[in-house]
Amino acid sequence: MKPSLFTRVQFDRIIDALMPLIASMGALLVGAVVLMLLDVNPVEAYTAMFSGAFANKNGLADTMVKAVPLLLVGLGIVIAFRANVINIGAEGQLIVGALITTYLAVELGDTWPNYLVITLGIIAGTLMGALWAGIPGYLKAYLNVNEILSTIMMNQIAIQIGYFLLRGPMIDPKEVEAGTNIPHSARLPRPTDLPRFTDVAGWFGFTDSAKDLNLTGFWGELYGLLVEPTRLHTGFFIAIIMAILVYIFLWRTTIGYRIRAVGLNPAAARYAGIQVPRTIILSMGLSGAFAGLAGAVEILGLHHRMFEPLAVSAGYGFSGIVVALFGKLHPIGAIPASILFGGLLVGGDKMQRAVQVPQVFVTALLGLIVLFVVSSEIWSRRRARRRVAVQTTAEENE
């Protein structure tokens, strides 16, 4: 009996991993109906979306740039959700992280060595995010305050703090001089910019463009992506390394084990001697740390100044949840998910230009994907239950 049971389990695992993809097909189908109602050919729209995001180096670079905050926020969500803590506050945690990084880089960037400023900025942003998430974590752990609601409120507070700082203490002196008073900070000193892919390629002596080397087609685009000037920055590596670290943390360390234990069954975890409240605060804090890190990396790698808080956070707090869910709450699964959804965000822009469907269609599509993926879990649960049943009968028969 054993071999057939084994393959059955394997088969189930594959289906489980692919479930989000299958569920998303449902969401894309509903999206197609919406597009048809708007009198748009869905095949044309989706083609424009995906080719815009993945078919050439510029699209791909933008997609990967978007994948950076999505992956970092998504990793934080993975940790929180694994502890059964629902962090909706990544938006705010990202904003406070971006704010403090901006502040430090603007203040110190001209006098301190750049690698110190970058390191300090990243650490400060991460800590700030952790602190911002730690508050709702504490409230949940000790006062049983619903973390969904408190994190949403913390988002609004972070946004207002952002506006307050950017209209007052942190405003670009040039804006005050010019009298325009647009609420954004000064540009960060250039040495604090995270190196872009093209800079790194330059260090290794790659300076020719694809055209110089007569590279065309796939290899030309790939070479262009890695070597030619795009917005793609090394924050991408930070995000990938973090994904691997989170995997090791969750599955190879005691603290990670405790977090997962609390998420699976808090009562059993408490019985096993795990301090549940402390673990909840820790998982929330770590979750916020990654959102704060995302904010720091966005500022240092991409924007190089802080502006409208909601434009910087750009809905990543919510789309990061989609990434985490899509990756089946697995840090490594979140990597392809972040690139896929980065592509969706970039592709939405291209689609708007190609078939005149407003970009907000992508927001609606994200919502549909969440609904379909979360609904599809019922099949995974049913199969898991059946699996247990089959295993139990098999063991009884032995």
Binding site: I86, L143, I321, T363, V370
Partner: protein, 321 residues
Amino acid sequence: MNEGLSILAIIVGIAHSGIRLATPYLYAAIGETFAQRSGVLNLGVEGIMLMGAFSGFYVAFVTGNLLLGVLAAALVGALMGLVMAFISVTLNAEQGISGIGLYLFGLGTSSLLFKTLLGTVEGVDGFSELKFCLASIGINSGVCLSEIPILGEIFLSHSLMVYGAFALVPLAWWVLNKTTWGLSIRAVGQNPQAADSLGVSVARVRYMTVTFGGAMAGIAGASLSISLLGIFQEGMTNGQGFIAVALVYFGSWTPVGVLLGALLFSLVNALQLWVQVLGLNIPSDVAVMLPYLLTILALAFPFKRALQPAALTKPFERGEN
């Protein structure tokens, strides 16, 4: 500081706008109270409100009939509530996350519809404020109750939508506490296994409450777009739907508690608006922040925790436990 306004006029102004601004919170939070009392946390209220705000506005804009607009908003809201019920009750999905999905869907779709159907910000004349003139009930007098100093100005000069929201409170209290329906709802939220064994269909009760909550959230959105503001803008609810969900916790799952919370919240909001109007030396960002800070503090009050429906956010499957 603006010299033209007396302290009294300012207080009357704050109280008047406080009552007015409580309207969307009340519709949405009372509807959500029913859903949560039956054990379903619908976090998608914000998205439903946006859809309600748009559909209500659009229908009112096209037909010129405000009531038809409210009806459309309620229908769209009920439909979205039905979807939420299907996902959370029939498919047993995690409620918090489904709500986020519904929110994103509503946010995107309402903006999409706005951009394709309207394109620019338009206006409608919202519900007019009632005057309660004696002449209208056949008494030959020019007196209008809304002109009574202070009390009339605060309480008797609102539109139909505002009074509707406040009328909902005693009605909801009565349904929840004095009817068989209310008993079923409470039982399903407190102990679904027991309710089920006594022949109450857990699924049917939850479908009803979540759909009703959706309809109310739709109306809440419409009250914002066609009653309070007279316009539709993308993302115009600006977090009010989430606050409505928080108000249900704040009000410890009772209509009267929700009413108090909504009033407190909208009064702080009104105060904040008046701070800006009067040009007081408080940064507007700090003032805008206040209601949210208040909500967190309110949620942290530990004494009402025991009143939470025991089965809240827990899917029910027969044969478990």
